[in-house]
Symmetry: D2
Subunit: 399 residues, 4 copies
């Protein structure tokens, strides 16, 4: 594995942390490269109040010196702004349960009414927990902030090689964008999405989406939806067909499906590919133009991946997200302490997090692409990688 | 990783091989446990003539003694029955190109007219190949026979713990099964599918599917479709939410998306989950009945996975397969030797391989589940694993 | 891999961090379990002044709640006490080099006179660094404090299963312990070593060792030496012969050789095993006694490992450490800026760190053993692992 | 991991197999590149009769076409020449134990008298085997033939970049080479070793070694010894100090210690490094000469590795091998069936295998170096790697 990373941290713990090992030396990196993506993750119509509290900022604790990576492991820390209110509940050390106020707080924060749709019940059975808080603090989507920090680092490096990744929202609950009304040019979609509260490039759809979210909120309900992630500028030849676990599409599918709430991942035309005959689907190949350096396609139904390898076209994927399972109007469930019926626990939550999931999707795609990129091009410093990259591009473009 | 495996072999090479390391000792295993799944992979209306030639059989070259695994790496070999016709073309050793008949054969078998939709073009550019045969021999779906052998081993072990996996076809090209007409009981679906030439549990749909395949064949075209894979008897607690790359849904998504031609993977209700509100989606939880050992659900919209962990319900996934890109009525493409326009290469191929993809899907799911199973239960011999497994089941069922 | 971890941090950076993923739930853990080993690493006659400054303490940032692991990734942070003096030199962000005082500081702390024996020269060439500080801050043995924190966690878990690990010093430079004078009982060796400033169980040797260190210090020189690490209570069956990379001896060798300065790793009698005939070496096997649960050995020349698997006897290894390469009386070297001759850089350093290396050795052994232990016994909570462990012990002891 | 491999096969099974995944395309490879190393492994004074039977030859079953790697997984098979005599004993399928001749054979080949020093006893307890043959068939050093095949492939690739690896014997049992009499030039040592029946470059020592082996054989005893492996031409910058598990010395230590019988691994001066002061040990650095492209050292006490990274000097390691534990004059042991005293099993064995262990050492070093090489230089075809390699060498040599 070219680079690897681990994340840690609980939803209401002291901080999230990520260590990233295998980042080459000589990459310019400043906190804002990370913070801007952390902020993008926190936005989106339908988020809960917590987003206002948090305003995540990264601390770069190691691996970067004077604005440049050194090759040493990079450590990111994101403090939880709300930590002071949770120091007792989430203390790593034993607390004095003989102290009545502490004891009361602990009891009050204990959760035993498992929420359907979350890790609560299977998590408690797997790890033998009595207090569901021991599960949900880590199974919470708060953890994705750490992934976004890692993904921002990956995007920064990919950006040096003109690989750009963005996401936009295609549906919230039942409200679809009108695909006819979407701009054809990816850069315009990107621009529109960045300006939209819902990361949606279709303005009139976004109005209907907000309305749906408002109604769900009113009803104590929640909505999922559909997002698309696009990577522009990916060179031919990332991933491989030679072994199943090297296929770029498989790696992308894992990365996207691992985002909390995602139930479907598709690449290119996705399911529609399976409905039309081969003669209408596959992206025919045309000779290079005078001014191009590569073979041409007039379509990109494959979503930029053929045989598990990037083919030089934009990589296009979609993720479908289920509605958030924490509902103000709670579902039927049980009390884990006695096994009896009880409605599910409710804890402050979003009504809709699809735009944020799209940002996490960008991050996961950036991570997968940087992995494949560094594996293909090797090198320990930016200078070395640049020459290797150009060498390869020249090799295949001259053919 | 609890167990790991590597596969090798080319479509027209001497043999496919798989080495599987990490299989516990004491598992009863006979060739037929593998062969029956190899045969299931080769069936299906719409397959090419090659399936009649092959009739794959496994040779167990190591790791099994007197019908029992020993803990040593297991080696499976599947000979290519057609090898004698390809010995020169696919020779591992240099051939005498001064010999005119050899030279002519080599030239004749060289491929430079890349096929859109396959690994041909990106594979040639990545690995710097001039002859696309060096790509397609490995990127061919023939490689999935080795995966099915590994998956059959995994299924055999899972079967000891009453975990059963099966697949069936839900659509071929535009022809859907009528979901209303599908049996409710999974065992009946399984039984119907096993009897169907298309692995389809809806008899009248299967007639329409065959017609669609016949028409595509007539037109030199091809069709993809949709299959479902179901695992029954999976215990609570495989996979985890604690780190993104341990989530069972992510691992399943990679495994399924890595099957050649798959463009969409979904779990449970999949995309439909993202269209309805949370209050209608999540699987409510009910107390244990007297005669049950676990909490109850009346629905399984989640497809058996919550928070990245198995929740004790059937694991249900779908894979959408694009049509096979090798077309008798070939697509527009180029000649890689001179970059000029040329129609794509055609080599004997299937018209539709969705039923086979479903079998590969079973295998990939079995592999992922056995990985998670062995990680959770540890142990080096079947006896040891059995006690660990029962110990855990007792622990959580007594709660 | 049952559990995995990454560490980050520079010698004079803000902090060291470790994330450990894969730790079961339900393990009691308090900061002192870690701090006591951090303190043991910092002691030892011959250490530099820095050890007095540091007094490392762990912050447990995640994965532990109310004194108990939750199954979520554990994050340890060790702040550098000296950080305030290095904030500019080691700033992760760009500094204002137009500010003369900053510019002067940066220039002053830049290092170009590479030190033979360190990573300085190969590290600078590999990562394309001009300032050796970008290498040495991470190649410094300060990094081993993070490993000791991880090892302390591993030891805490192993301790629950009565697996105890300790180290002692056998030689400093040319001064050996008198092997005849060493106690026969490992617990007494351990007790003596814990009380010794040099972690040496032979009191009179330790006096001569101190004298050698004093003389080296006086001469601006340094000394290495030899340490032994012993693990008591390891069950039969960790590691395996079935694949080369599962052998416990190989995994131990990597872990010990990876400690900065180690040039030789040996197990059991080590090199002496290769000098005597087989008939005098191998540890003969005797029937179980009435009061024992296992087969008996009267010798342990193998150091507790046969065929790459633990055999139930104490695991015994030795590591030989070269002298520290940073010398007050510097070696001949070059200036990397112009390639010309220049004596090597000197920065505050220890004269001898063998006792500390022994503590790091304990940690690395604990990490390897916990890996193998968790792989063999599986389980996600302490309760589950305990039953699996007892199940296995009963199985093989009844035979 | 740049490339990975798995091996399978039993000592008396049908064949050994290795699958190697991650080998770049375009590498010229012929069977003799492998066979010559297989033959070198089988030679050496003191080997048993089996070596005459075997004469291993590789079959290249996949990944190579017309003498050139394709990028697809490479599969090597080494048939066991003696297989016809073991077909029943080692059958993968159940045998007819009602047939008296089969039943008798099986009983006769069953082993229950465990051999001290082998995996027999811990292996049987770990995997719950009653018949030690289920252990020893895989724990046998026969398995190293597969590693040598993989190592030969690695050496072939490294050889293209002028990295050459060889081994020689420094001691058999108590008989040392006279280090003063060894040639100074590595190429002469290599040449002498290749010509010696014991792979020993000191002719008079080799005579004494043979005598020691003859005497051991006479006495039903066995001898170990010491070998050295040297890699010439390794570029600066393989491995790294940035994380413990990337250190080249640690990776080498694991690889060498994993060879059956090895009890000590040392790099460079090894243990002697720990006996002399720093001022006398570290390899001082001198400016580049006019005709050189790199900094100079006059010594190589470090064995070519500083701070876990190759420094451009020869990599030099030593492995100490214990005597083979299978003794004609057997050791005291027990019968696993009833736990009572019984002398250990004897099965045809070598008296001394140190020269062969040196060949396996070459292979393991080649594997580690190729891993690090491919990680550093990336690339999917030989052409691409060559340019990347030259790019890097130019970069650091111009400094």
């Amino acid at each position: 594995m070219a680079f690897r990373f681990l994340t840690s941290g609980e939803s209401h713990g002291k901080c999230l942390t990520a260590i990233i090992e295998g980042i080459p030396a000589g990459i310019p990196l400043k906190p804002d490269d990370i913070d801007k993506h952390l902020a993008r993750r926190q936005q989106g119509y339908g988020r809960g109040d917590r987003m206002k509290i948090e305003q995540d900022r990264v601390l770069i604790n190691s691996g970067v010196r004077h604005g440049m990576t050194t090759g040493a492991p990079v450590c990111f820390e994101i403090e939880n702004k709300d930590w002071q209110n949770w120091q007792v509940t989430m203390s790593s050390q034993a607390v004095d349960i003989n102290n009545p106020s502490i004891s009361e707080l602990i009891t009050q924060k204990k959760i035993t009414h498992v929420r359907p749709g979350h890790a609560d019940l299977p998590g408690a059975l797997k790890y033998n927990h009595q207090d569901i808080r021991n599960v949900l603090e880590r199974s919470s989507a708060r953890e994705t902030a750490a992934r976004v920090a890692v993904g921002a680092l990956a995007s920064t490096i990919l950006g040096i090689f003109n690989i750009e990744i963005f996401s936009h929202v295609l549906r919230i609950g039942p409200v679809n964008v009108d695909s006819e009304s979407l701009p054809v040019n990816y850069n315009i979609i990107r621009e529109f999405a960045e300006k939209s509260e819902l990361r949606c490039a279709d303005y009139s759809a976004s109005i209907a989406m907000k309305k749906a979210i408002d109604e769900a909120k009113e009803a104590g309900d929640s909505f999922g939806g559909l997002f698309e992630v696009v990577a522009l500028g990916v060179p031919v030849g990332l991933g491989s067909y030679v072994h199943w676990d090297k296929r770029l599409d498989g790696l992308i599918a894992q990365a996207i499906m691992s985002i909390p709430g995602i139930k479907t991942v598709s690449i290119g035309l996705g399911k529609a590919s399976s409905e039309i005959p081969g003669s209408k689907l596959h992206d025919e190949i045309y000779p290079k133009n005078d001014d191009s350096k590569d073979y041409q396609r007039k379509t990109n139904h494959s979503g930029g991946i053929e045989g598990g390898i990037s083919n030089g076209n934009p990589i296009v994927l979609k993720g479908a997200m289920k509605p958030i399972p924490t509902l103000k109007k709670p579902l039927k469930s049980i009390n884990l302490e006695n096994g009896e019926e009880h409605i599910a626990h409710y804890e402050r939550s979003d009504v809709c997090a699809v735009p944020a999931a799209g940002i996490v999707g960008e991050s996961m795609l950036a991570i997968v692409l940087l992995q494949a990129f560094l594996e293909k091009f090797g090198g320990d410093s930016l200078e070395e990688i640049k020459v290797n990259y150009e060498n390869y591009c020249n090799m295949y473009q001259k053919r």
